[in-house]
Structure formats: C-alpha cells, structure tokens
C-alpha cells in the first residue's frame, strides 16, 4: 500500500529559516511519491506546531510523518508522542535533521536548501518503508537472586531486602562469609574482620526477606530480564537443617579428622562432619562424603549416635529447587591463583613459603596456630620474614595474570605492620616493584609501616627462593636502587599471589549469557557509565567478579548493584524496545553466526516447523528474544542470507535512504 506521508518543515525561528529556504523545501518535498501534505511552521515543536501535525494526521489520514527540524536526539520523542496522540503509530515518524546538519553549518542558502531537500527525501524514503511498531511488555518477578555469599553478596542481599524485596543467596560452601571470613584484620583501620563481618552474616540470616541456600549451586538459568527461571542444586548436607541445633558434638566426636581444612587453606585438618568455622552461618555442619568413614566403608555412624537431635541423615539426596527471579546479581568473588608456574619461589618445596592468605590464617586466633606466628615446618618463631609482591600479577608472559591484583600492596603493609607490632624482633623485608596505594588513608598506612615500624622495603624483585638443608630459606633478590644483588636468609617467605575470579564464573556466565573478558572477569555494560550492570539485561555485578577490589570498594559496588536491581524490581512491567532484530525463518540457516556476535544472548535456536511454497519441514532457526535484544544490529550483518533484520532500521529502509541521498 502506498503511504500517505505528511512533511512538516520547521523554521526553528531563524535557526533554520535564516539559511534554508523553507518554502522551497516544502515545495520540493511535496513532489515526492507518497507525499500528500507538506507545510512549514515557525516552531514545529511548539504546541501550535504539534497541533498542525495532529490535525494533518487526522484530516489527511496520514500513514507517515516526516519532520524536517532539529536533531532527532532533541525532539524525536516529542513528535512521536504527538503522532501517537493523533492516532498514528509513533514509529511512523522520521526526522530529517536540517538544523545541526544543515542550517548551523552551512552558509550558502542554495546549497543548504538543496541539502535540506535531500535529507528530507531520505526521511521520506525511509518512512515509506516504516511499519507500525509496538513496544512489548514483560512482567517482572519481584524477587532477586544473589549468586555468592561473600561480603559482596551479603551486602547486596541486605540492601535489596531493605527495599522490601525477596532475595535469595546461593552459596557454594556450607557457610556464607566468603573470603572476608578468612581474613584476620582489615586495612587500613586494622579492625578485626570477623568482628565486622559476623554481624552482617547474622543480619542476612535473620532477615525474613532473605533466603540462604548454602552448600548449593546454580544449575540452570533460563528466561530473561524480569523473568528468569533458575534451578538451584541444594547438595546433600547429610544433616537435617531443621533438626540440627548446632551443638557441635558430632564434630568433636567424629573419628576421622584427617580432611584438609579448606577454611584454613589446608594448613591443618578438620573432621569429616564439619562447619567451616566457628561463626558459620548457618551453624549446621555438613558431612564431607569423600572423607567420611561411614560413606567410605559403611561402618562408623558415630555422629548419628551422638546427635541428640537426630539430625544426621546419611540418606539425604541432592535437591533441585526451581525459583523465578526478576534480577540476578553475580557476586562470586575470587580465589588466589595456583602457583604451579612459579617454581622459583619454592612454594611447593617448603612449607615455610606461604601465600598471604595462609598468613592470614596463621595470624588469626582461630587459625591453625591459634594466632601464633610460627613456621609451619618446625613451629619455631621466625626471625626474618620476606614478603614478595606481584607473584603472578602484572605478568604478560603467560604464566600469570596481566592485571594488577590491587589489594596486595595494602595487605602486605598490614601484615608487615602487624608482625612488627606483635613481634618487634622479627625483621620484615618486602620486595616490591611498585607500591600502589591509591585510596583514602592508604598511603599514610603504608608509610606507617616504613616510618613507624621500620619495615624494610626494597625496590626490586626476588629471582628465586632456595630452601636450605638447615631449614632456612635463601632469598635471591635485587635492590634496584642500590643496583646490587641481595642474597638473604629468611625463615618465612610470604607470597602476594595474584587473585583471579572464582573458577566457577565461566560456567555461571555461560548460563547467564553474561559476557566475560579474557581474564574471566565479568564485563560491564559500560566501563565507565554502567559499571555494575552486565550487558545482559537484568544481570548485575557485585564485588571482585567484575574486577579486583578491596572490601570498601566491594561493599560500595554491592550497594550499587543492589540499587540497580531494586530499580528493576520496582517496576511492574518492562517496556521492551520495539526496534529489535527479527529472524525470517524462511531464510534462516540456523548457523549460529548471529548468536556468536549478540552481546546480549538474545538469540537462541529452536527447531520450528517452517512452511512455505513447497516447504514443510522442521528445522533449526534463530529466535530473537525481544526482551533481551537491544537493537544494535550486529546480527543483521553477521547473517549472510539477510534473514536477520532490524525493525526501525531495516535493510530496505537504510538502502532507501542511501538511494535517496545518492539520487
């Protein structure tokens, strides 16, 4: 059907009319095919101007409107709403930008007028091919899921719950608390980690809006923003959570105490039935079936016998819980890298070469040494300690990570200071490449270590650490300031190992179709302007899952992620952008090329029955989820057969504009 198009040329006072012969533009555009109405006015965006458009739409039964005026970024919405009020689909309006692109930059009236006509023709050509579009609506499930129960996840959940929404935390380990629960003290204030974390954990568990799924993992995610369906696997705890009182007798009586303690980084062992640490939440133990005598041999059952509450259940099975969510926050945190590639530091050869996280456990009163600083080999107090920075960070040789882990400089200063404070006779040396302390009170903190505690900071790296026969360690380093090699004895060496995203994140990102970078950190929707959102709508990022962070940064980002999630949950319905991609299943090859370039995971494949002249078969075709599609058009070009097209910016529309411009 031929469109009935109305053209409205705006003078914009003298902004346009001074350089463009507006009357001439009207006259020329009136000759274009399909144009049944053309007029000009002082200010099209004014009430009177809009009334003119509305009136023409009604009187001339316009099916398309072209406004030649300022940039569409200025008034496209205005004119679309105007059209909608007059009964025309708002997406049947196109703007020819004859102010920013014509009158404001050209001086010659003839030339400017001619260009205005051409831009008007392009808009007419485009609008001739426009089709009415309707923004879709999708429902929002008012419940959020937080993946990961560390400080990031806890903070996000607390903030979301505080706004009145239900929120579930899925935590893989038996207790929430995460990495922070393993720390002894926190920089730069040196307050005790447990003292500030435990209240948050208790708060999370007590909050009636928050449901904790500990010892659980996300198994499957489907759906899209506002309407995710998630399967959560609750692993068999072998302890009935409703019956257990947390008395701890089972752990005491368990005869098998040979399992390495994850919480203490393998520095000591725990019982087969265990809670990771004393303040664990929930305070309900789990049976580690790989180490439990009952599960291994069938004989034992001591815990069951001693449990007064009868909570032990050897028969318990994994359970799948399916729940719907409107928003998902990823807070899966980090671990430190494996040091297999760094043989030179003798981490595998000597128990006295440890990571900083192990040192945290050693320094902690609840740790394997009850807080006494001692060597793990002979339990003697060390006299000389060496800290090595950037172990695996800032490495572009493929052995480690190319990025800076950000937290090591500060925690090493903390460790050095705490040791010098408690054990003033221990010499502490730190080998560093750079000391990076950008943060409130951070540099002051580092300087205290040097100035008040006389920690020996040496600019230079350690080449290797050699364990000696006498049990000591020789550190071969360099002092780049003095330009001399250093060979020193140490009793303990502490490695500031790089941090890396939790290895599970790959699997999780795939399930969420959230994009991930080469270092396995989740990608933000915009590095600067949307730092806590994933490009995949409805997925938010909290904590180190997005990039290295310390605790205060993590907490602020957790709050920001919560606010973004709340903003989404507060809506009843989501209006979806109608300018989305559409697949023509007749032409679709089902080759997956489009899905490979979609940044939003909006394209999936279904076996659909395709019917056409002479064709009736079931075949794999692309399906665009318009709630997820943001309308970038990457898929439309990736598709060789042109089966994928973008509504509002269709191939034929753009070609029509090209033709009109080149005419």
């Amino acid at each position: 059907m031929q469109q009935r198009i109305g053209v409205f040329v705006c003078h914009c006072g003298s902004n346009i009319a001074a350089t463009v012969d507006v009357k001439k533009v009207v006259e020329m555009l009136a000759l274009e095919p399909g144009v049944v109405h053309a007029e000009d006015y002082q200010y099209m965006c004014s009430e009177v101007g809009q009334a003119k458009i509305a009136e023409a739409i009604k009187e001339k039964q316009l099916t398309g409107v072209v406004v030649c005026s300022c940039s569409p970024r200025m008034h496209e919405t205005t004119f679309r709403k105007c059209a909608e009020r007059a009964g025309l689909n708002p997406y049947m309006v196109e703007i020819a930008n004859i102010r920013e692109q014509v009158s404001w930059i050209h001086k010659d009236m003839e030339e400017a007028t001619q260009k205005a006509v051409i831009l008007g023709r392009a808009a007419i050509a485009k609008v001739s091919l426009n089709t009415p579009l309707k923004a879709g609506e999708s429902r929002v499930t008012k419940r959020a899921l937080v993946i990961g129960g560390g400080i990031a996840g806890i903070q996000t959940a607390l903030d979301i719950a505080d706004a009145g929404y239900e929120v579930d935390i899925v935590e893989k380990t038996p207790s929430i608390g995460g990495r922070m629960s393993q720390l002894d003290k926190t920089f730069p204030t040196l307050d005790c980690s447990a003292c500030i974390l435990t209240p948050k954990m208790v708060e999370a568990s007590a909050n009636e809006k928050i449901t904790l799924y500990t010892y659980s993992e996300v198994e499957k995610v489907s759906g899209f923003v506002g309407d995710f369906t998630v399967d959560i696997r609750k692993k068999a705890r072998s302890v009935d959570m409703s019956k257990c009182t947390g008395c701890g007798v089972c752990q005491e009586k368990c005869p098998n105490k040979k399992a390495p303690s994850e919480f203490n980084r393998g520095l000591n062992t725990r019982s087969a039935i265990y809670t990771p640490f004393a303040q664990a939440i929930p305070n309900v133990p789990v049976i580690d079936r790989e180490h439990c005598t009952k599960f291994l041999t069938g004989k034992c059952g001591v815990c069951s016998k001693v449990c007064q509450a009868g909570a032990i259940d050897y028969e318990q099975q994994d359970e799948i819980i399916t729940e719907k969510y409107g928003a998902i926050v990823v807070a899966t945190g980090f671990d430190i890298i494996k040091l297999d590639n760094y043989g030179e530091y003798a981490y595998d050869q000597s128990p006295d070469v440890i990571t900083s996280l192990e040192l945290e456990r050693i320094m902690n009163a609840a740790g394997p040494t009850k807080g006494h600083l001692e060597r793990m080999s002979d339990h003697k107090a060390p006299k000389n300690m060496v800290f090595i920075q950037c172990v695996g960070s800032r490495c572009s040789d493929g052995r480690g990570k190319s990025y800076c882990s950000k937290i090591c400089c500060m925690y090493t200063a903390k460790h050095a200071m705490l040791i010098r404070d408690k054990y003033p006779d221990v010499n502490v040396t730190v080998f560093y490449i750079d000391v990076r302390t950008p943060g409130k009170n951070f540099d002051e903190f580092y300087r205290r270590a040097v100035e008040d505690y006389h920690v020996n900071y040496i600019k230079g790296q350690v080449g290797k650490v050699t364990p000696e026969a006498d049990g000591s360690l020789t550190v071969h380093g360099v002092d780049l300031i003095d330009n001399k090699q250093i060979k020193m004895k140490a009793d303990m060496v502490v490695l500031a190992a790089a941090i890396e995203p939790n290895p599970d994140i790959r699997k999780i990102a795939t399930m969420l179709t959230a994009s991930i970078d080469t270092n396995n950190f989740l990608t933000e929707a915009h590095a600067k302007l949307r730092p806590v959102e994933s490009p995949t709508a409805g997925i938010f990022l909290s904590g180190v899952t997005q990039g290295p962070k310390d605790i205060p940064e993590t907490v602020s980002q957790a709050g920001a992620a919560a606010v973004k999630a709340i903003g989404l949950l507060a809506k009843d319905k989501l209006l979806t952008n109608p300018c989305t991609a559409q697949a023509d299943i007749m032409a679709c090859n089902g080759c997956s090329t489009c899905a490979n370039v979609c940044p939003y995971g909006a394209i999936s494949y279904e076996d659909k029955e395709v019917r056409g002249p002479g064709i009736r078969e079931v075949r794999r075709v692309a399906v665009v989820n318009s709630a997820l599609c943001q309308g970038c058009g990457a898929c439309t070009v990736a598709c060789p057969s042109g089966a994928m097209d973008l509504q509002g910016f269709s191939n034929r529309q753009i070609i029509a504009e090209v033709d009109a411009i080149c005419r």
């Binding site: 090859n589 090329t593 794999r620 990736a638 070609i655």
Partner: protein
C-alpha cells in the same frame, strides 16, 4: 578403489549406513559425477580416480535431512568443509559415516586441453596409485602429459594430507603443494590500483552469473541467497552493469570470509575460468595477517575471525597505510 567399494558394501550390508555418497563413473573417462548409491548393484558404477575432484561435503547438507546414516567419502581438503558445516549446524555428524579417502592431487581436464590435446577418447593413469604420467588417447593420436601438469590449481597449494575428521581412512594421501598459497594474491597486490582494476574488470567481465561458484561452495549454503532474494533489493540474474559482477563476487567473498576453507571448488567449476580463489584467498591472507593464522574448518570450536575481535585489532586505515 576396490577397497572403498568393499567398505561401502560392508557398511550397507551391516546396516551401518543406508546410502553411500561418492562418485559415479562418467561416460567419458574424465567426467565422473557425485552420486548416491543405495545398493550393492549401484556400486558397480562407483569410481574413485583423479577426476573425482568434487567436494562432497555440500551434498551432506541434504543427506543430513534424510533418515539413516550416509557413508561419505571425503578427501583431506574436503574434511575442512565438512567441519565448517558441522560448526554451522548445517550437517549432522551423527548422520555421517566418514571415510577419508587418499588423494594425490585431482585432475582438471581443461589443464590437459590447454596443452593442445583435443578429441580425448580416454585418459589413463588417473587412479590413486597410478603413474606420474597420464596417457591420453585422442581422435588425433596418442598423447602424454605429467600428472602434476594436469592437476587442478588448488592442488598446487595443497593444505596437506591430513583428514580433519573421519571415522576411518582408506588410502594414502600425498601433499602436492609445490607453490605458495598466496603468491597469486601477492602478485595482484603488487600491481598498481589501475592495473588491479583492469585485471579484475577483465576477469569479472567473463562472469555469466551462472552461480556455479556459489552453488558448489560448501560455505555458500544459504537456504536463500541474498542475490536470489529481495532483502537488500539485491536480486540479480544477470550482470547488466559491470557493477553487478563486482557486487556479487565481493559480497560473496565477504559472506564466506572466515568460513571459506579454500577448497577451491569455485575456481574448479567456473565455466569461464575466472580465478575466483583470488577473492577468497585475499580475505584469508588478510585474516592471517591481521588477526592471526586461521584455517576455517580445522577446529570446530575456534571462533570465526569475523565473529570475533580483540581490543587491539588493526584499524581499517591499515588498508591505506600498507599502500
């Protein structure tokens, strides 16, 4: 060849496959055709010799829609195409029983005719384990030529004798590479823009838009080609203006860029002898130079270069900078 027939018979007999995709002997000694065989009797006409150049991968798109498994014979270079088709979900691996066949380079009858040999009655010595010299009986007397001189252009830049995918391999293959793959592209690149323009203008002017290059191409497997549809107002059936030849061949090359395995079928089938591989190989060369070595079809898991990126990719201005 008998070994291949025996294998086909065996697999048909034991029900592993319900049909065999191979080559049927032609009525001249150089024109075997791709064909399906369903019975032992059919297989009497099965042939595998130097003229069996056709890449059978593409036929597996249709065969994958049929019930039951198809035994398909693939030469080493064909297996790249098959892999690429698996990657694009166009063939079903489960529906194929792949026998990798040996190859010592495939023959091009036009290469023989170019040597002035006419009225060919028979060509002998084309079998896999045949001699290095072909004996050609013609209406105008007997002739000989070396096997290598009669090989398809693509065989001179052979990708190697390894099959990328196969259930089993029968017959020895030979790497027939005796020229550099990108030499022809480099030669064009070395010309001045005017010379390049004239060169391609002359080559493409020969194009009759028969679509043989497209239809034989395993990467050009679109259900509906843009040049047959009106999605871009681009349907063309003839090259009315020289622009349309360029449009067709540039866009075709672009659509298969990063997917083209360089199987050389396009150049083999062009009735006008247009060196179509000059387009595809140009993209392959650019991709290798700009985004790292990439061989389509070598690795099913590898991300295609045009559906991938790195932050530090070269800018399009490289085209100007390299001069």
């Amino acid at each position: 060849m008998q070994e291949l027939i025996n294998k086909a018979k065996e697999l048909l007999a034991n029900g592993t496959v319900v049909r065999v995709l191979g080559w049927r002997a032609g009525d001249l000694s150089y024109n075997p055709e791709p064909a399906f065989f369903e019975t032992e009797e059919d297989l009497q006409k099965f042939v595998y010799d130097g003229f069996c150049g056709a890449n059978l991968s593409k036929y597996m798109i249709e065969a994958s829609k049929l019930d039951g498994k198809t035994l398909v014979f693939l030469k080493p270079c064909d297996t790249y195409s098959f892999n690429q088709l698996i990657k694009e979900h166009r063939v079903d691996r489960e529906k194929a029983y792949i026998v990798g066949v040996g190859c010592r380079g495939k023959l091009d009858i036009d290469k023989i005719k170019e040597q002035g040999i006419k009225g060919i009655e028979s060509v002998e010595g084309t079998e896999l384990d045949g001699p290095d010299t072909l004996t050609i009986k013609t209406l105008y007397g007997d002739k000989t030529c070396s096997y290598a001189s009669a090989m398809l252009g693509r065989c001179h830049v052979c990708k190697g004798k390894e099959h990328m995918i196969a259930d089993e391999i029968i017959g020895e293959s030979k790497d027939t590479k005796d020229a550099e793959r990108f030499d022809a592209v480099k030669a064009v690149e070395a010309m001045s823009p005017e010379e390049r323009f004239n060169f391609f203008q002359k080559e493409l002017r020969k194009c009759i838009r028969c679509n043989a290059c497209r239809n034989v191409c395993p990467a050009c497997s679109c259900r509906k080609c843009v040049f047959d549809s009106n999605k871009f107002d681009s349907a063309q059936k003839a090259n009315v203006d020289s622009f349309e030849e360029k449009m067709f061949h540039v866009i075709r090359a672009f659509h298969v860029a990063g997917r083209c395995t360089d199987c050389g079928e396009c150049s083999r089938v062009c009735p006008q002898g247009i060196q179509l591989h000059l387009f595809n190989r140009k993209f392959i060369k650019d991709i290798n130079e700009y985004y790292g070595e990439f061989q389509a079809g070598a690795d099913i898991e590898a991300r295609g270069p045009l559906t991938n990126y790195t932050f530090d990719d070269v800018e399009p201005s490289i085209v100007k900078e390299r001069g």
